[in-house]
């Protein structure tokens, strides 16, 4: 019960912060969607970092390191430290400048102007929304699962009896409690908060502070939640080291546990070298995340970007390094992960916390995981609401026909609808949604050549952009189908050269198809007009 009280306390604290932020709301569209371009360096760093780090940073990193060893830090974390900051520096600052000058709120507004094409919105809008929706579903479903697992009882294998459950059978309606194998079955609620109820609570909390506070409320909530999950990650690391190591000091504990980790888990031998290299393309996805674009535009000045650019790699290290080490510890004979838990790598961290620490720490860690999930969900809900408002409603109805107050009302209506739809989708528990994460990122990465060329290559044409998006999505669909619709979790594209076998990430082929098509078609078609070139490249075409 104490875990549930801590989770409820955390959510209440978040609601209070959201209500406080909503008192600062100035009532304008600019303030609701972009916080009136008033976000300074610290808040920008925390909100961008919180948005890019999902539950995968805590739970997924531990599970991946348990499965693949220490190499996952290089493959997923240090590569992101280089590439994310590169995107903030090379794309973010420039898009912020153009956004301020031309009054953009969404990516599609920028592409419509840069390509001098209204219809690019009709192609890009469904692609961007289609790639964000599974990402949202992962967050909503993960939050329900995490709360259920931490509040559920433990089934004693010998007797089948349920121990330490938060609720007795019959507390919730039968359809929420009973799985295919009853109350204590693998998909039953086992006396915890049913997943559907937990997901609904998370959706309502996020909806409340996004609805009332808009971007300003989201930025404040993100900053708070980022601090929460960074601190709790480190606390979990220290407590687990003490409980597993059982020695006198932290250093002695760390050495004791490390001595029991299998040698092969200390290396990167579990990762193909070309796979490791091509994995570096996946962090390029941040260059095309619509929710990150919106955060970039909230910056007060260009210099607000300096702190996020520098601190982002260090923040990734603070979150990831302890979690990767915890994943390695789970492979040691001091921990002995049971086979059902080992088969589901995302269950490793919650299981270790439950086994080796107090219910209070388990509750706090759950709050940390929820913080990581919600600090991404809020930005995505707000961003989709903004896109439906600005790119569809306002664009096709006409800006002059709507007052500022009506646009804010419209945005709030869209946000409520998106939260409701996402929650309803999550109830269907789409198969394999958790394996879709890397595919969503790959889709966004394959659109990176488009945004890079739009900013740095005057010769990019409307036809080149259309061809690039179509090539990116066609190759995505082909490879997604080839992977058995993400059923094959470790899917790579394999080819033979000179008798040797090479494995590359599918994103490499999508990226190559998108970039090649963009260049070839642009060079084969008529260059953009003088007015467009003067507007977007004033230094070169003044």
């Amino acid at each position: 019960m104490s875990q549930l009280l801590i989770i409820c306390g955390y959510l209440a604290l978040l609601l209070l912060l959201g209500l406080f932020a909503s008192r600062l709301f100035r009532g304008t569209t600019q303030d609701y969607m972009l916080a009136s371009h008033s976000i300074g360096p610290f808040l920008l760093l925390m909100s961008i970092f919180g948005t890019t780090m999902t539950a995968f940073a805590l739970v997924g990193s531990t599970g991946e390191s348990f499965k693949q060893g220490a190499g996952v830090y290089g493959m997923l974390a240090s590569s992101s430290g280089i590439i994310h900051s590169l995107c903030f520096f090379v794309l973010g600052v420039k898009l912020w400048k153009l956004g301020r000058r031309n009054g953009y709120t969404t990516q599609i507004q920028f592409f419509r102007d840069r390509l001098d094409s209204d219809k690019i919105g009709l192609l890009l809008f469904p692609v961007l929304v289609g790639l964000v929706i599974p990402y949202l579903l992962i967050g909503v479903m993960a939050s329900g699962t995490v709360i259920n697992k931490v509040t559920a009882g433990i089934v004693v294998p010998a007797t089948g009896e349920l121990k330490d459950a938060t609720f007795s059978e019959g507390t919730f309606p039968e359809f929420l409690e009973q799985g295919t194998n009853g109350f204590t079955g693998e998909d039953g609620s086992r006396g915890g908060v049913p997943k559907q109820v937990a997901s609904l609570a998370i959706c309502l909390v996020v909806l409340t502070y996004v609805f009332f506070g808009g971007m300003r409320g989201t930025a404040w909530a993100n900053a708070f939640q980022t601090i929460v999950f960074m601190i709790l990650g480190v606390i979990t690391f220290v407590v687990l080291a003490e409980k597993i190591g059982n020695q006198g000091s932290l250093l002695a504990n760390l050495r004791e546990i490390a001595a029991h980790v299998p040698k092969e888990k200390l290396t990167r031998d579990h990762v193909f070298k070309l796979q490791f290299f091509t994995y570096m393309l996946i962090p390029l996805s941040v260059g095309m995340f619509p929710h990150l674009f919106q955060h970039w535009l909230t910056a007060k000045s260009a210099s607000s970007f300096k702190l996020p650019v520098v601190a982002h790699p260090l923040f990734i290290m603070i979150v990831w390094a302890p979690c990767v080490l915890i994943g390695l510890w789970a492979t040691s004979d001091l921990v002995n992960v049971p086979p059902p838990i080992a088969a589901n790598q995302n269950a490793i961290l919650p299981w270790m916390v439950r086994k080796f620490s107090s219910p209070e720490l388990a509750g706090l860690l759950t709050a940390g995981v929820l913080a990581a999930i919600m600090s991404s969900l809020d930005s995505q809900f707000l961003c989709l609401g903004t896109m439906f408002t600005e790119d569809v409603a306002v664009h096709y109805l006409g800006k002059d026909r709507l007052s500022d107050r009506q646009v804010v009302l419209l945005a709030r209506g869209f946000i409520v609808a998106i939260v409701a739809l996402t929650y309803l989708f999550s109830l269907a528990e789409p198969r394999g949604v958790f394996t879709l994460g890397v595919w969503c990122f790959s889709g966004f990465s394959s659109l990176f050549p488009l945004v890079f060329a739009a900013l740095y290559w005057p010769r990019l044409t409307k036809a080149g952009a259309y061809a690039s998006v179509i090539a990116a999505i066609s190759s995505w669909i082909y490879l997604f189908r080839d992977s058995g619709y993400a059923a094959e979790e470790t899917y790579t594209v394999t080819f033979n050269l000179g008798g040797a076998e090479y494995h590359v990430m599918p994103v490499a082929l999508m990226f190559a198809a998108s970039a090649t098509t963009l260049i070839v078609v642009s060079l084969a078609t008529k260059p953009p007009g003088e007015a467009t070139l003067r507007r977007f490249f004033p230094d070169r075409f003044a």
Binding site: A70, I82, F89, F110, I120, I257, A258, L266, L314
Partner: protein, 71 residues
């Protein structure tokens, strides 16, 4: 100086793809695998490189552009 910073960025990406510690099983300080510590060094190197980039290659002056779409 700005060219030097971009050379650093490329060097960082090349170093990220190292082969030296790929199969190294040693533990530094008795608890950190070499493969992990090496890449924590890459993360720190990235922060230093981006700090230099913000100092010497900043693409904009810090003045706010005059504020305020559809093709």
């Amino acid at each position: 100086m700005s060219k030097f910073v971009w050379v650093l960025v490329v060097a960082l990406i090349v170093l990220h793809q190292d082969n030296w510690f790929w199969s190294d099983t040693r533990l530094v300080f008795g608890f950190v695998p070499v493969a992990l510590l090496y890449h924590m060094g890459i993360s720190t190197g990235a922060a230093i490189t981006w700090f230099l980039a913000t100092k010497f290659c900043w693409p904009l002056d810090d003045a706010r552009p005059a504020a305020s779409p559809g093709g």
